[in-house]
Structures are given as C-alpha cells and as structure tokens.
C-alpha cells in the first residue's frame, strides 16, 4: 500500500509499528527528548517513509526495522539541534554523510553510490551546503550556514539553488547513461 501511495499504508505503519518504535525512542532518549519531540521524530520518519517507500529493499530488513532506523535518525537530529541550537559542523556533516554502509563492508545501493559521486563533483560551497542539508534531513537555515561557511546568506541561497540544479542534472545524465548502457548490452 505504501509503494502504491495509498494513505492506508501510513495508518498500518503506525498501527503495526508506531507503539513499539515510539516506546523505543522514549526509552532511548529518556530525559533528552520530551513526548512532543518523540512525536515529532515519529512524524518526520513517517514523512520519509511516505516519500521514499519505493526505495525500501525488503530483502535487507523489515519495514519495522527501516522505520525504527529512520525514526531514530530523526530523533538524533532533533536532539542535536536542541542541544546546539544550531546546525552541525561541516566536519561532522562530512562524517555523517560518508559512506557508512561501505565502511561496514556492505555495498551501498547503486543509486546511493551515484548520488554520492554527483555530490562529490559539485563545486565546494555547493557541496558543503547540500551536505549540511542532507545531514539536517532537509534544509539548514541560510543564516546559520553562512556563519559556519564564512560567507553570506545570499551566497548560501545561490549555492543551494545552483547545487540542487547541478545535482539534478548530473543524476539525470547518469540515469540516461545507465539506460543507454543497458540498451547497448541488451542489443
């Protein structure tokens, strides 16, 4: 149902796994996140599940496990943002976005590998902005990022817009190349 973008799939996720995942987060983040923040983490995780349902590889793990990992990441981000009152440093962002799966000896998906390559090929400031956005799970306020990168908010806006555009084009090109390669192999 989720893959078919049927809203009943969301209800099933909550009904089947919401209680356990929520309990797990409350236990893991006791004294750090309040009930509302745990709710926020569940809510953010649900949005990610909804957006990327077609990317789940159920051969690797259950939906419950996926949902848990995503919700935990969301909770960590909420915790970190509350603690710092700001965004993560670029160094920690680079670390967070580094290929964890590859380090663990588990090959990332092809899409993920291509995505990382395309990010790596961006201009430095564009890359820094997009990496920070990825680590924040969305978009980092331009003012905060400007201070961190030693630039202006306007420059961050421009880098973000151009970076996203360049990334989108690069991904589309890679996709086209991949399709052409498959076609030539089939032929």
């Amino acid at each position: 149902m989720l893959v078919a973008h049927d809203a009943r799939g969301l209800e099933r996720v909550l009904a089947d796994h919401g209680a356990r995942v929520s309990s797990l987060l409350r236990r893991e983040f006791r004294g750090v996140l309040d009930a509302l923040q745990v709710d926020d983490a569940i809510s953010q995780a649900l949005q990610r599940v909804w957006r990327a349902a077609s990317s789940f590889d159920f051969a690797r793990g259950s939906l419950a496990a996926w949902f848990t990992v995503i919700a935990r990441n969301c909770a960590r981000r909420i915790r970190d943002q509350a603690r710092r009152g700001t965004t993560e440093s670029l160094a920690s962002v680079e670390g967070a976005v580094a290929p964890r799966a590859a380090e663990a000896g588990e090959g990332p998906s092809r899409w993920l590998a291509v995505f990382r390559q395309c990010i790596d090929e961006l201009q430095p400031q564009q890359r820094a902005v997009l990496l920070a956005d990825l680590a924040a799970g969305g978009t980092v306020p331009a003012g905060e990022l400007a201070v961190r990168l030693g630039t202006t908010a306007n420059s961050v806006y421009v880098s973000r817009a151009n970076g996203r555009k360049a990334l989108r084009i690069a991904l589309q090109q890679r996709e086209r190349q991949s399709q052409e390669k498959h076609r030539s192999e089939d032929a």
């Binding site: 209680a19 356990r20 809510s43 909804w50 957006r51 996926w66 995503i70 964890r100 799966a101 956005d133």
Partner: protein
Amino acid sequence: MKDHGDGWDDLVARWEVENVADAELRAAARALAEVPDAVAEPIPAAAQSAFVAGTLASVPPSAGTRRTSRVGQRLTRNVAGLAVLTAVTTLVVLWGGRDSFATLDYRTAIMILSRDDQPSRQYQSAAVIVYRQVQRAVGALRDIARRDVDSAAANEAREALRLLLAAVDGAMPPSLGSVGDARIDLDAAMRRSSSPTSTPAQLGAVAELAAFAMVGVRAVVGMPGVDEQVRAAQASCRQRLRIELLR
C-alpha cells in the same frame, strides 16, 4: 519535510532510506523485539489520524513527480506572502486596541515571511511554536479543572477549555474577554504558561492567544492563491490542537 517543487526533499528521503547499513537494520530489529508488550502503548486513533494527516499535508501525493516551474512556484509563494501580510494588516486594523494580539500574530507572520524560499516550512515552524505554547497552557488548565471539581477556579478552567475548543473548531471567534481581561505580550505569555501560580483566566488567555494565531491564519489560508501546503499544514496543526484540548 516539505516539497519545495525541486525534488530535493524526495532526494533527502531516499538518501536517508538507502544510506542505512544492513547492520543498523539488524540492530533495530533486535531492539524492537526487546521492547516488552506492556511498555508499547498503542498510539491513540486520534493521534494516528493526526500523524497521517500531517504527513499527507506535508507531502503532496504527486511528490517526486511534480515539475512545477520555478517561476510559478515563486509567484505562488509571493502571492501567499502577500495574502498573509494583507490579512495580518486587516487583523491589526480590526482588532485595534488589542494590539498585543495583533503584535503576536504579526510577529508570527513576519517569521513565516522571513524565509522567502520556504514559506510552508516556516509556516509549520510557527504553528509548532504556537502549538507548544497552547499545549503548556491547556495542560495547566486541565490540571486546575481536575484538581477540585467544584471550585470556582476549576469551573473557570473548564469554561476556558470549552471556549478554546469552540474557537479551534471555528464555532466561535476567539475572544479574550470570555476568559479574562489580562493584556499579555509574548514574553508574559511564555512565563505565565509555565507558572504554577497562574490563574485560569491568565492560562486561558495564553491558550487563547495561541488559538487566535491559528484561527486567525485560518482566514488567511482560505484566500485564493495561498499555497496548498500552507493550507494543509494549518489544518494538520489545528487538528493536533483539537486533540490536545480533548485529551
């Protein structure tokens, strides 16, 4: 996480999903299995509905495939911004002497408008701040209402809750005079919402201040040209507020 029309949020979500290592999935499965049944309290149906509504509101069904032109998006955002500003100005005029209300709503609107690249997200942030504020005040009101059911304070607290619910449901406009005549500013509201010595009238006024912000914006989002996502996010937040009042 809002869709800003350029597909970025879909990329973030996909990155988040595919960047999970197998070891993390296995650990999560083990951790879940260790949660005792007795500890895992089911999420109430009303809360489930709010979660789902919030998700659907923040992610349009066509997310990932939508290709709205950037000019169109910017135009929509500007129209939405102008609509909010116009309505706020109207509210300032209409509410006249109640400048503390107008000031809060104006501040909220300014916060929404301060980020012209993502008004929906900023709107949601503002709504969350308002929601947290009202949650504190409503929690305190509920405590008073339950502490001594026959006391005048408890009756006043129950009346404040009833009026708030009606205001959130749109059955009546918020009216500070109905629960007290305290004139409060944002800082005072913050202090009073967490003060154990606040009276029901003060708490009711704090909560009503927040409800006003939500109900006030409801008129704004009914205007043509306002971002559909803003409309949906507002509906979701109002639903959460209603759940809080009924809890």
